[in-house]
């Protein structure tokens, strides 16, 4: 049963514990948070805070120990591996820090892979949309190259085109600028910003970089698997202060 909500992703009372060498580690501790549709949300926290686990659980890559996760109002907890896989093809886009592209496929083949996996024929609109993205991101000439022939920034842009191409419910970006120089970082962040502002795409970005988070509409802070702050748009300076305060309190 879908539930009525503005949240594209909703975590309800979610706990996730890992059993490492006999000592259970609580990565998420009864966390409840909703991530709104059409917004650019940054999830922040010190390393080991549980922000990556939050993303993995929200994206159906990892099963929560307890609690419920909803994607676009539909519960995804308890879905089978195949159902989750099918969900990822159609409803979720991913951008990782590195190693985003399948090395044996060209850039355009990488972009089209989720469509092929979902058995979806490209209609006129899809084609126009992908063409637009490719041109807008300045990838036109490189589109038939293998990832090895692309620079880090170009690879990251191809990954963003792929994530946006199928107009998924939500795009998850895990430290998308972690491996880029500051100029390329700014380009990539501006791109995600544009996807939200112009195309109404929901984007969730996990990051520890205050500059990256300053591009977001909302900054969610996680510490020890719990919500430690929820702010609107902030400057990089303000976010740095928030993080330093968190560290001081710990």
């Amino acid at each position: 049963m879908p539930i009525l909500t503005d949240d594209v992703v909703l975590l309800e009372d979610v706990t996730k514990s890992f059993d490492t060498a006999g000592a259970p580690v609580l990565a998420l501790d009864r966390l409840t948070v909703g991530l709104r549709r059409g917004e650019f949300t940054a999830v922040m926290g010190p390393s080991g805070s549980g922000k990556s686990t939050l993303m993995n659980v929200a994206a159906g890559l990892d099963e929560p120990t307890s609690g419920r996760v909803y994607l676009a109002g539909r519960p995804i907890t308890g879905l089978s591996d195949d159902q989750l896989t099918a969900l990822r093809r159609t409803s979720i886009g991913f951008v990782f820090q590195a190693f985003n592209l399948v090395p044996t496929l060209t850039a355009i083949e990488n972009v089209l892979l989720p469509f092929q996996l979902a058995g979806r024929r490209l209609n006129f609109e899809d084609r126009a949309w992908i063409d637009h993205l490719v041109t807008a991101l300045g990838l036109g000439a490189r589109i038939d190259h293998r990832p090895a022939a692309l620079s880090g920034g170009q690879q990251q842009r191809v990954a963003i085109v792929r994530a946006l191409a199928s107009r998924p419910q939500v795009v998850f970006a895990d430290e998308p600028t972690g491996n880029l120089d500051s100029r390329t970082s700014r380009e990539v962040l501006a791109l995600l910003r544009t996807a939200v502002a112009e195309y109404g795409q929901s984007v969730v970005m996990v990051t520890h970089d205050p500059v990256a988070a300053s591009y977001a509409d909302r900054v969610v802070l996680v510490v020890d698997g719990r919500l430690a702050g929820d702010h609107g748009r902030c400057s990089a300076q303000e976010i740095s202060t928030l993080l330093v305060d968190l560290e001081a309190r710990a």
Partner: protein, 469 residues
Amino acid sequence: MRAPSQIPPRLVLGSWRELGTVGVVAALASAYAAVLIMVAAVAGRLSDADDGALGVMLGVVATVFILIALYVSGVVMTNAVATVLAGRVRALALLRLLGADARRLRTQIVRQAGMVALVGAVSGTVLGVVAVLVGRVIMVAHGTIPGGSYPLVSSWLLPSIGAVVAVTAVAAADGSRSVLTVSPADALRGPQPSRDAVRRLTRRRVGVAGFLVVTGILVLGMAVEAGSDGSAAGFLLAFVGGAVCTTGILVGAQLFLPACVAAVGRLLGHGPATVIARRNAVKDPKRTTRSTIGLAVGVGLVVTFASGLDALRRQVLEQDDLTARQRALSIQIFNLTEVVLVAIVVVSAVIAAVGFASTLSLTVLQRTREIGLLRVLGLTRRQIRGMITREAVAMSAAAILLGAVVGIGYGSAAAASLVGAVGSGFALGVPRFVLVLVAVAGVVLVIVSAHAPARRAVAVTPVEALRFE
């Protein structure tokens, strides 16, 4: 204080387990050699009555087959070492960055592989000797052979162990050539061979390989001609022609085998998982060639012998002046010879199969992150398993086809060079039973070799796989 001359082995080649293939192949080859040597020794004692001629002949035959097995083992082990190293470019580059020189790294690799091979060879030899001992005791008990004192060991066992270790050392040195090209800068990015050098090398390779293959086929043709004239030189010519042509095929393999693999892959469909499987099968043409050529040689050997015997049988049975009894007797002799010969050469094919399976397993392991990414993007577990299986199918089918075609050619030519004068000159030897056997073995090989890596690949969650280094 003196600086240690050795780099800790773990840093160079990872865990000893990564050299498992080298150990298994060394053990298999040594066990095989030990069995042949001891059987020849036992048979030699039996034939002492007829002044030992049988023993000498068996010794020569055993040596030839051991050399063939050693050759296949060498190809397989070169590939095994190269595959392990390909997955460790970054670790090696880091060692270079910290001051290890390339030559010392290579010496270390050769030493480590040699040690693993020594352990494998000694265990294999012991196994082989025990197997012959048990077999002999049983045969004496059954009265198949007379009792008495038989040799327990042979002085040839030591050179056999030495040969296996030496082949391993050469294979490790050859397989680790890539280490020389790893620059410390590769610690930060993957190495890219310069295009020009590759192209220049390719052109020369085409020339050499083409020349050898054409010459080999011409000599084989001359052998058939000589055979139909009843000349005794025919068989020798056939041997030389086959050897030259095979060398040409081996030299040129990396020019056409990857294309064969890709062609077979194209027959498997056009889904995204199939496309990725096909591209992976030929991503590194050298690696593809090495892991398939061993299999092609193994299959080629089996088919050559079977096809030769089949062609001989056809030509002999074509003669009209045979009595029914002679006919039945020749069929019986041919069948027995076929079983024995195929049983002896099949070991080389088994060694090649072990190499094939281990290469597949390692290359899948090296692609853990890629598989994690594919799972995240929407490949189901079934599709991942199917992808790995298709990769194995494309590679093994291409190798088996090549081996079978070449084997039928050699076998038929050799038979014609022997008895062309008595029969119709040339008969194509198509050993149906052995070909079916090879095809079935190929299917089993694909299932067995793809099963474990496929299961391991889908056992890790995508999140774990993406974090894999």
